[in-house]
Assembly symmetry: C2
Homo-oligomer: 296 residues x 2
């Protein structure tokens, strides 16, 4: 399940509540495109911002509308107690895989993070993807820690941050494959790095772009599989204006939220306070890019 193209949709809000019909439409769109999995509550889906009831609503909608496409869900929380409750709820609602990031407010030690994964892995019945996302969690995994966690029975994938595959990608993948169990897949994230990551041998692309523009992401994914290193770089460069917009707006979430509003998939403003979408100027650039880059 943790292979291929995985789409991370936004969770659209209206009046500070989940917009059920808008969210159902977004999931339908992903299901129609036949991507390999849908992550209902990724970082782009704002899982740490939702209360228990809202997480239940989002997962229910996603599972109902995903058809036969497996739904994943983020279960991270500051407390182990809450991570376990999130996992239990998600499993009951039919989720096929769990994404677990070591959320922190007080910084965590390598030992605490290992113990977190060990305890969660012991209690769940669906596989877990280790969500390694330093800009959001402020925790940095060592290779040694990844290796130890990956030995736990229910761990089946690692969602790496983008950077590790940017330079010497193939070498880095070989190195990871050598230290990780063979049934643990290696995932690239940070869409700008995806072509190089896929070309270098990553098993799965955990994609923000695919959450709203699944056909474009699918196209990039298939192309990247057939690229050499130079072509992969060029493939990413084609979308540079979009990656610049991601970067200028602290990541892809706000860009995708604004794109959903522009295209009528969500009502503006679709993010919960204090989060906001793009400013007017960036919205105009995005509007133009959607057609210029033929994002679909």
């Amino acid at each position: 399940m943790f292979t291929g193209l995985s789409g991370f949709p936004i969770t659209p809000f209206t009046d500070d509540q989940i917009d059920h019909s808008a969210y159902a439409n977004l999931i339908n769109r992903l299901a129609d495109t036949q991507i390999d999995s849908i992550c209902a509550l990724g970082s782009t889906g704002l899982y740490p911002y939702l209360n228990t009831k809202e997480k239940e609503q989002a997962i229910q909608i996603a599972v109902e509308h995903a058809g036969h496409i497996p739904v994943l869900a983020g279960i991270g929380s500051l407390r182990l107690r809450d991570v376990l409750a999130n996992a239990e709820q998600a499993e009951k609602l039919g989720v096929k895989g769990l994404l677990l990031a070591p959320l922190s407010y007080q910084r965590l030690t390598q030992e605490e993070v290992y113990e977190l994964y060990r305890q969660v892995a012991e209690q769940v019945s669906v596989p877990i993807c280790v969500y390694d996302n330093p800009p959001a969690t402020h925790f940095t995994f060592t290779d040694e820690l990844h290796t130890e966690i990956a030995k736990l029975e229910m761990i089946k994938s690692i969602k790496f941050p983008g950077m590790p595959f940017e330079k010497n990608g193939e070498q880095r993948i070989q190195q990871l494959k050598a230290i990780l169990p063979s049934d643990v897949t290696i995932g690239v994230s940070g869409d700008v790095f995806a072509p190089s990551g896929i070309q270098s041998g990553c098993d799965i692309w955990y994609s923000v772009l695919a959450g709203l523009f699944p056909r474009t992401a699918q196209h990039i994914f298939y192309r990247a599989q057939q690229c050499n290193s130079k072509q992969a770089t060029e493939l990413s460069q084609k979308f540079d204006p979009l990656w610049v917009l991601f970067s200028e707006n602290l990541g892809g979430m706000r860009v995708m939220a604004s794109a959903a509003e522009i295209l009528g998939y969500a009502e503006a403003p679709c993010l919960p306070s204090p989060l906001t979408g793009l400013n007017t100027e960036s919205q105009a650039i995005l509007h133009k890019l959607i057609s210029e880059l033929e994002l679909i």
Copy 2:
């Protein structure tokens, strides 16, 4: 109220629940020492780890046992909705001041943070301290943003991170006093920086040390007020082995939790999973330091 010495106690847990009697004892201890305020739910008190019910319990205990000493409470949360609910609950329970940090998972813009404070400041009836704590919130305030937020009617203090007063402290305080309204107090945190901060003219010390060792912190506070710059540095240096332990353990929270266990103020383990206290070796060092530095 936002002047003098403010103590930030831990919130002791037992079996992953708040240990009511241990917490009441800690608050009694602070009340006996007559420090100037008690922050019930600071970072050291793990406010983002507590659910609504636990926050209610902690504040109730703190207000009940603080006597006439004003109780402050942290109200930060990722969602504005939850910040407002935390504020409302804290006010109803008798809290006299609110600490608000711009918690983030998705990084926040300066505009979003201003708007967060503006909306909260409009709806509360007790004063707010701006909680500027980049290691925990991963948000960096500009001086311009501090100035704009400080103009809001209910903003009455800023808890600065330690660093700004380490070098050229007096100059920095003069600069801040010049750009901030005169009724907004300037607070130092990061206990290692406190003597220099106080000597340089900070109005309040938001202190982790004072949360468990209020008499020692009080002694440092009074001494620092009478120091010159060199003496303030020496005053801090006396406690260097303790600051080293703070730094090696990612901040003061784990050290204070272990100290509370060592001294019998809390049952071990007193932190909620995945957080853990000091390892055996560091505990032994701490045990020795408590008597060598005469921490009381």
